[in-house]
């Protein structure tokens, strides 16, 4: 049952991902990205991690894709159809395949991965939360600081200059 679900979702995910990188229309790419991210949330659900699935939907599916669409809107010009693949794209393909092969082989070689149990442990929101606010409290607070700095930085970088240039 899980295997079937996983197969369907991962097929959708990979198809959408390929769609993102090869689509000729940039808006289609963004929509493919949305679907891909939603499928990742589905993968999380298969892994019995409902909280992270929700977070994925909200932040990736909601916030990030919207921000990317906004950026597309603000930079929208007629050059998008013209700028597709650069000259290196065959090399890029070869490199990607090589990475894929190397990493797969290393996964199959790894003893640690074969020795894990075949059952999935559900991650309850409650215990996840207690872990986040006890063991990981300080990094959690620091992450908020990172977000604040990124926010301010984004505003400073993106705003118009005073003299209207």
């Amino acid at each position: 049952m899980h295997l079937i679900l996983f197969s369907i979702i991962s097929t959708v995910l990979l198809v959408c991902a390929v769609g993102v990188v090869i689509s000729r229309n940039i808006v289609h790419s963004a929509l493919f990205l949305l679907f891909a991210l939603i499928s990742v949330a589905g993968i999380y659900l298969v892994l019995l991690t409902e909280f992270l699935a929700i977070v994925q939907l909200l932040i990736y599916g909601g916030a990030i894709v919207i921000v990317i669409l906004f950026a597309l809107m603000l930079t929208r010009n007629e050059e998008y159809p013209r700028i597709q693949n650069n000259k290196l794209w065959p090399i890029a393909g070869v490199l990607a395949v090589l990475v894929c092969i190397t990493m797969s082989v290393s996964y199959f070689q790894s003893g640690a991965i074969q020795n894990v149990p075949n059952t999935i442990a559900p991650a309850g929101v409650k215990s996840l939360g207690s872990s986040l606010f006890t063991t990981w409290a300080i990094p959690f607070e620091l992450a908020s600081l990172v977000l604040l700095v990124a926010l301010i930085g984004a505003i400073v970088i993106a705003r118009s200059d005073k003299d209207g240039n």
């Binding site: 295997l3 996983f6 991962s10 990979l14 991902a17 390929v18 990188v21 963004a30 990205l33 891909a36 991210l37 990742v40 993968i43 892994l47 991690t49 992270l52 977070v55 990736y60 990030i64 921000v67 990317i68 950026a71 603000l74 930079t75 010009n77 050059e79 700028i83 597709q84 693949n85 650069n86 794209w89 090399i91 890029a92 393909g93 990607a96 990475v99 894929c100 990493m103 797969s104 199959f108 640690a112 074969q114 894990v116 059952t119 999935i120 442990a121 559900p122 991650a123 872990s131 063991t135 990981w136 992450a143 990172v146 977000l147 700095v149 930085g153 984004a154 970088i157 993106a158 118009s160």
Partner: protein, 106 residues
């Protein structure tokens, strides 16, 4: 039966697709989208490892999930900053083609 290696392979495939996107495309915004794909590949790996590990071994039960939360946080910050930068460059150069972002060249 569902095993950890399935998720690993899924993650590797997703990562490679993202890598191809980063390397092969010219549009800066598309490169960012591809980076998001790569980040998600990593996240899948983390959560799968955490879910199958049951808290044995090197990592305790929730470390993978927590790290994923942090990655999502950082990714949000990164996308915000990166798009701000792209907007800025677009305002100056009227293009998002990374071919023209070569002002660092000597």
């Amino acid at each position: 039966m569902l095993e950890l290696i399935h998720f690993n392979i899924l993650s590797v495939l997703l990562f490679s697709v993202g890598l191809y996107g980063v390397l092969a495309r010219k549009s800066a915004i598309l490169i960012i989208m591809a980076i998001e794909l790569m980040l998600n590949a990593v996240n899948i790996n983390f959560i799968a490892a955490a879910a199958f590990n049951h808290g044995n071994g090197l990592f305790t039960n929730f470390d993978g999930h927590i790290l994923t939360i942090f990655i999502i946080t950082i990714a949000a910050a990164e996308v915000g900053l990166a798009l701000a930068l792209i907007l800025r460059i677009f305002r100056n150069k009227a293009t998002v083609n990374v071919d023209s972002f070569d002002i660092m060249k000597l």
